[in-house]
Point group: C2
Chain length 241, copies 2
DNA sequence: TTAATAGTGTCTATGAGACACTATGCA
DNA sequence: TGCATAGTGTCTCATAGACACTATTAA
């Protein structure tokens, strides 16, 4: 061990540190496709490009708390599903200075997504086009409502891709899917969520069997309203065990 | 947005930052069980407890580079499978100061594991007992060779548990299992690795079928030596496509 | 020749996809 | 009464577990 390393080991307070930030992928569904909320950068660097909402981590703040603060301050969202994704630490990810960023995934039900968009005029919806290839950083595209490709700032394209891929991976065996639904929902809505995330059609009887056999769904006894045909049963998610 | 937030947003260099570290779970197999390499702490805090090898992240160092440096300096290992696990940011995880740590998982084949243990006298083997319950921080036990429970420093028990659970989750559908084997290995050795990580016996014909059908295994044409019975075919891992 | 494990053939159980069917509420 | 979707019965197919069997090498 060199003398420098020893000193750094002994008194790291004496050495300069990277800055630490959190960035949030605010993910929802829009027209049957995954979509994220982005902010347009007005200043250097990457002015004019689109970025994930983020912020620096305070000395007296956990990572979760920092993520929740960003969620509150930049999107006006009080509470939702939040999960740590991955920590990005490339040397040149921000040209101003060394910033390490802990990417998080927030899942927004349709209403929360719409409310945030309505309440914060700076936010923009980007539809995400995530191909099936690639493990961590496939060539994701963020599209505006008009279908234009939005240029993304920093390494935020990687974060967006990772968010969707992580969600895909967990969807089958975990309960994350319910975080994108309102409290009461039909089996068709649940299937729509899965199909949107997986970007593939699913078999109806098999899907229903799997979900019902899992024991996470409690029928509410009520039915959806406002259809011009047979209304479907409404279910509620009940935590396993 | 408050004035303070605005300033922090604009000039984070002016505000104190958490220190940033990496910690490494050096995982191998020992007598058919997962095992990790630990260092005994000699100083405050947690003196006398056992800790994962770790170090601070330099300003000019990526997270991967910091992890590789720790691997080299503290375990004498030049190269092995390395993966980021999770970032731990609780406020009180280190009583000296605020330290956020990016936990990593390093997988060591038996020989590398033994070499590190031999070359670095400070390192201790701990057999890991990871129950099947719990998603992130089950009640893991680290046991010395004599079967005594080793007291762990900081939140390192959580990191150890997470490492094994992550590995369990990925073992089936990814190629991580091969990182714990030498370049040439028998199907029995591969099955032993899977059984040790999953902590459950597996069906031999089914396991062989699955592995061979996957197309990741190339027979070398040679056979293992030194057995007193029929020697098994040696295989090599060939990256898919 | 025997011991001990490598390696395989085949039956069964399980779960998913396919597809057609019945059920039901509203216009 | 008919439409459109909810919801189901059942066949087939793919895959994993069980179990017994054959193959092969060294001592």
């Amino acid at each position: 061990m060199s003398k420098t390393d020893f000193l750094a080991d002994y008194d790291p307070a004496a050495y300069p540190r990277p800055a630490l930030a959190v960035d949030l992928v605010l993910l929802g569904l829009r027209d049957g496709r995954p979509a994220a909320l982005l902010l347009k950068r007005t200043r250097h660097p990457h002015a004019g490009r689109w970025a994930l909402p983020g912020g620096f981590v305070g000395l007296d703040e956990t990572l979760d708390a920092a993520a929740e603060r960003v969620l509150r301050e930049k999107a006006g969202i009080a509470q939702t599903y939040l999960e740590q994704l991955y920590t990005f630490g490339a040397l040149d990810r921000d040209p101003r200075m060394r910033i390490v960023s802990v990417a998080h995934l927030a899942l927004l039900p349709e209403q929360t997504f719409a409310d945030a968009l309505e309440g914060q005029p700076d936010l923009m919806v980007a539809t995400l086009d995530v191909p099936w290839t690639g493990e961590t950083g496939g060539p994701i595209s963020a599209l505006s409502r008009r279908g234009e490709t939005l240029p993304l700032a920093f390494d935020h394209a990687d974060m967006l891709a990772l968010a969707v891929l992580r969600l895909r991976g967990k969807l089958d065996y975990s309960d994350v899917g319910f975080a994108l639904l309102p409290e009461q929902f039909t089996l068709r809505q649940l299937q729509d969520v899965h199909e949107a995330i997986l970007a593939t059609p699913l078999n109806k009887p098999a899907f229903r069997r799997r979900m019902l056999d899992r024991g996470w769904l409690a029928p509410t006894g009520t039915r959806e309203a406002g259809t011009s045909f047979r209304p479907a049963e409404l279910y509620r998610f009940t935590r396993p065990r």
